[in-house]
Structures are given as C-alpha cells and as structure tokens.
C-alpha cells in the first residue's frame, strides 16, 4: 500500500532581513515515517521545522499538511497545530502547573475534553513515558530527561498526526539523552509520523526512515539512512559526516 503524504513542502523560502535562511526547500514526509533533519548549526533545519508548525512565517512556497495547502490567512492555524505537535529543545513545560496539569491543559481547554477523561488519558500517557509517579509534582522537581518526556506526553495528549522535534536532546546531560531517545524510538515503532531535528547521528541511522541533510539553507542531500550514511554522494555531506561523532 502506498504511504500517505503527511507533509509536502514545495519551494519554501524564508529570510530574516538580508539573511536568506531557507532556499527553495522541497521535502515530503510520508505517513508513519521518521524524517531526520541533520546538518551543521545555522543550516536552517530548526527554522524549517518551525515553519511546519507556523511558529515561523514562510516568505514564499507551499506547505501542504495531509494534502491540503495551509496558509495562515485561509486556515485556522490553531486547528492545524492540533494535528502537528511540537517538542522543543528547552521543553517549555508550564512551571506553574503540575506534570498532570501540563498534560491535560490543552485537551481540556482547546478540545474541551471532559476533565475526568483527560486525566485518565494523561495518566496513560505518563505511564507510557515512564513517569506515572511524577503526575503530581511540579516541573522544577524533574530532571531534564524527565521534563522532555513530560513534554512529549503533553504533545501526545492532543493526539497529533505528526510530531515535530526540535533538537529534543541537545539541552540534556549526556546520561539523560538515552531515556528521551528510547521514548522517541518507541513512538516511531508505534507508527507516529515524526520530523526530528537532531545531532544524534546514531538515532538518525537507527530510527530514521529518511535523512535530510541541510547546509546553508538548502537541502543538500536526502535519502534512506543506510545509503546516506554509508554512501553519501555530495562532497559537503561527506565532510559533515567525517567530522561528526557517532
């Protein structure tokens, strides 16, 4: 069976003043795929990811979400964001709410899910990310890895079709990276469509279905991980892979 196209980007351009950060980006994300965006700092991968959630406004080009072209003028962006969840590098948990309150906040206030049902679902999600015992504590009591897993549960609570990850492990102590990657891997195995900006090459190689390498605002090379990592075609890709630690 052919996979559905969840995201399709055509000719996307974005500038900050004179700085042209995204240049004619073409990309697609298929249903249940894990697409890893890799590349050096400043290559535009985070900006691209943020465009997919409309946290950044594109200058030109098309973004199609599940087959429909979406523009802030014609679509309710809040509705799109219910379908496209986001996990941030710095977690951004709501510090004045307990873990459970963080997770039920959007379902109860945006989707108007009854509170009892939201709590039940939130508890199931917390169990899934291994944090059942932390439901009633405040984020300030959690480690970085735990915070990020709560952030993942919070995003999942909206039952998104697509999850975006913006360097989800870059702000973590090295020994905490594993637990977050494990959670993400579990999600991938369950068939969640994911777009991950990451510097974790071993994760990209093992979990990714498709690798997109960006440099200076352009997609330089993309392909399935096996081919991409063992037989890169572009000079710039080879250079990047040589200097990257696995």
């Amino acid at each position: 069976m052919e996979q559905k196209e969840m995201i399709r980007i055509r000719n996307l351009n974005k500038s900050y003043g004179n700085l042209h950060v995204l240049k004619d980006i073409d990309m697609k994300v298929l249903d249940s795929d894990v697409v890893c965006l890799i590349g050096p700092s400043g290559s535009g991968k985070s900006t691209l990811l943020r465009c997919l959630n409309y946290l950044e406004k594109k200058d030109s080009g098309q973004i199609l979400i599940e087959g429909t072209e979406v523009n802030p003028g014609t679509h309710d962006i809040n509705k799109i964001r219910e379908k496209v969840g986001m996990v941030f590098q710095h977690f951004y948990l709501f510090p004045h709410m307990t873990v459970l309150e963080n997770v039920i906040e959007a379902p109860t206030h945006v989707k108007k899910v009854p509170k009892a049902q939201a709590i039940e679902e939130a508890k199931a999600l917390l169990a899934k990310v291994g944090l059942s015992d932390k439901a009633d504590v405040y984020p300030s009591k959690l480690s970085g890895g735990q915070k990020q897993r709560v952030a993942i549960a919070r995003a999942l609570a909206m039952k998104p079709d697509i999850l975006l990850f913006d360097e989800p492990t870059s702000a973590l102590d090295p020994e905490l990276v594993g637990e977050v990657l494990a959670t993400m891997k579990e999600l991938a195995l369950e068939g969640m469509t994911m777009v991950v900006v990451t510097h974790e090459m071993s994760f990209a190689r093992e979990v990714g279905d498709w690798i997109v390498f960006m440099h200076n605002g352009r997609v330089v090379e993309s392909g399935p991980p096996k081919e991409f990592f063992t037989n890169p075609k572009e000079e710039r890709t080879k250079e990047f892979l040589q200097t990257t630690v696995f």
Partner: protein, 228 residues
C-alpha cells in the same frame, strides 16, 4: 529636672490619647483601608488593561498606554486628585469617596501597568510558543500560561506599590475625606497638640502596612508552591 518630668508626662499623655481617641481613629482607619483596597483593586484592572495595550504590538494602543503612563508619572498625585475632584464633580455628581478612590486607582494603575508589562515580557517566549504549538489561541495562552506566571513574578513589586498606595491615600485628606491623616491633623489642631496626634497616626499606618505586608507574603508563599 523639669525638662525630664515634662517628657515623662508627655509620654503618658501619648498613651492616654492613643486609647481615648481610638474610636475616631479606628473609624478613620477603616476609611483609609476602604480607599486603599478599592484603589488597588481598580488599579490592578486598569494596570492590566494598559499593560496588555502596551504589549499588543498595535501602534495606536501602545501609544495610548504610553501616554497614560507619561501623564500619570509626570504629574503629582495631589494635582491628579484635585483635577478629578474639581473637574469631574463639575460634570456629574461623583461622591467624594469615589472621586478619591478613582484618582488613586488611576494613579496606581500607571505604576501597576508598568510592573505587569515588565513581568509579562520577562516570561520566556518559549512559553507562548509551547502554548501555541498545542493549538491554544494567543489569548488563551496569555490567560492560562503567561499571566499566572507574570503575576507571580510581579508580587514583590506589586506589594511595594500597594504599600505606596496605602500611604498615598493620605492625600485624600485634601478633598475632605475623614481618613487617618485628616483626622490626625484635625484633632491635633483642635487640641493644640499636633505632635501627639501625628505620632498616633503613624502607629495606625504602621499597623496597616504590617497587615498588608503579611497578606502579600502569604500570597507569595502560596504561589511559590511550584518551586518547592
């Protein structure tokens, strides 16, 4: 020796007067408290409104907020009270209490709006993005995520402003409100003993400020629960 016994006598007179005048002063204290509470509550509403105008990113609204803050900060409170009292009372009948309360609220509102604007802007913009990325609207995120954190951060400077507002309410004496300061000066000149009554009124203000400080501290403690 005469000097010393004079002061000792004075000392006892002070306590005598403190107790004998307590009826009048407690009534005046309640009025001061009413003026303060009303002007603070209305001031918070005004302050929040102008803080939101200021951060709205809409030029005309920002300008309105800036102008308000400039006018209030740029003129003495007593002038504002007189303008409101004599000016508004000419247009339509405004009870003295409300003229005084609204003048104080209008004044406090400017300072409160600056406090709130500062703390709202100090909240990491990632908090707004996190809310938005979950499908929450701008105003919902502001209400549920940003403002609760901003208010918490604003509490120490707000407490400070409340105390200033309490003491500023003494200026309502000049539009014949029988609040603490007015009662003290009136009794002082009637009894040819200003100093005793001024010392007494200072005691009442200290009690009120202590009370207000305790309340603000309780709020801070309650709201800091998420840090522990």
């Amino acid at each position: 020796m005469i000097e010393r016994s004079h002061y000792i006598a004075k000392f006892f007179t002070f306590f005598d007067t403190l107790f004998s005048s307590s009826d009048v002063f407690i009534r005046a204290m309640l009025l001061t408290l009413e003026l303060t509470v009303v002007s603070i509550l209305v001031g918070i509403v005004i302050g929040l409104l102008f803080a939101l105008l200021k951060i709205s990113n809409i030029k005309i609204l920002t300008w309105i907020s800036d102008t308000y803050v400039f006018l209030v900060r740029g003129t003495p409170l007593i002038v504002q009270i007189f303008i409101l009292y004599f000016g508004i009372s000419n247009l339509f009948l405004l009870p003295d209490f409300w003229a005084a309360s609204l003048a104080l609220a209008f004044h406090n509102g400017a300072y409160i709006s600056e406090i709130l604007r500062g703390t709202i802007q100090s909240i990491d913009k990632g908090q707004m993005e996190a809310g938005r990325s979950l499908g929450m609207s701008n105003s919902l995120t502001l209400r549920r995520i940003i403002l609760p954190q901003a208010f918490r951060r604003a509490l120490p400077p707000l407490g400070n402003q409340f105390i200033i507002g309490l003491k500023d309410s003494s200026l309502a004496a000049f539009i014949s409100m029988n609040e603490l300061f007015n009662v003290a000066t009136t009794l002082g000149s009637n009894n040819f003993d200003e100093m005793t009554y001024l010392l007494i009124v200072a005691v009442y203000y200290l009690i009120l400020v202590a009370f207000l400080t305790i309340i603000v501290n309780l709020f801070e403690k309650k709201l800091s629960i998420s840090d522990r």
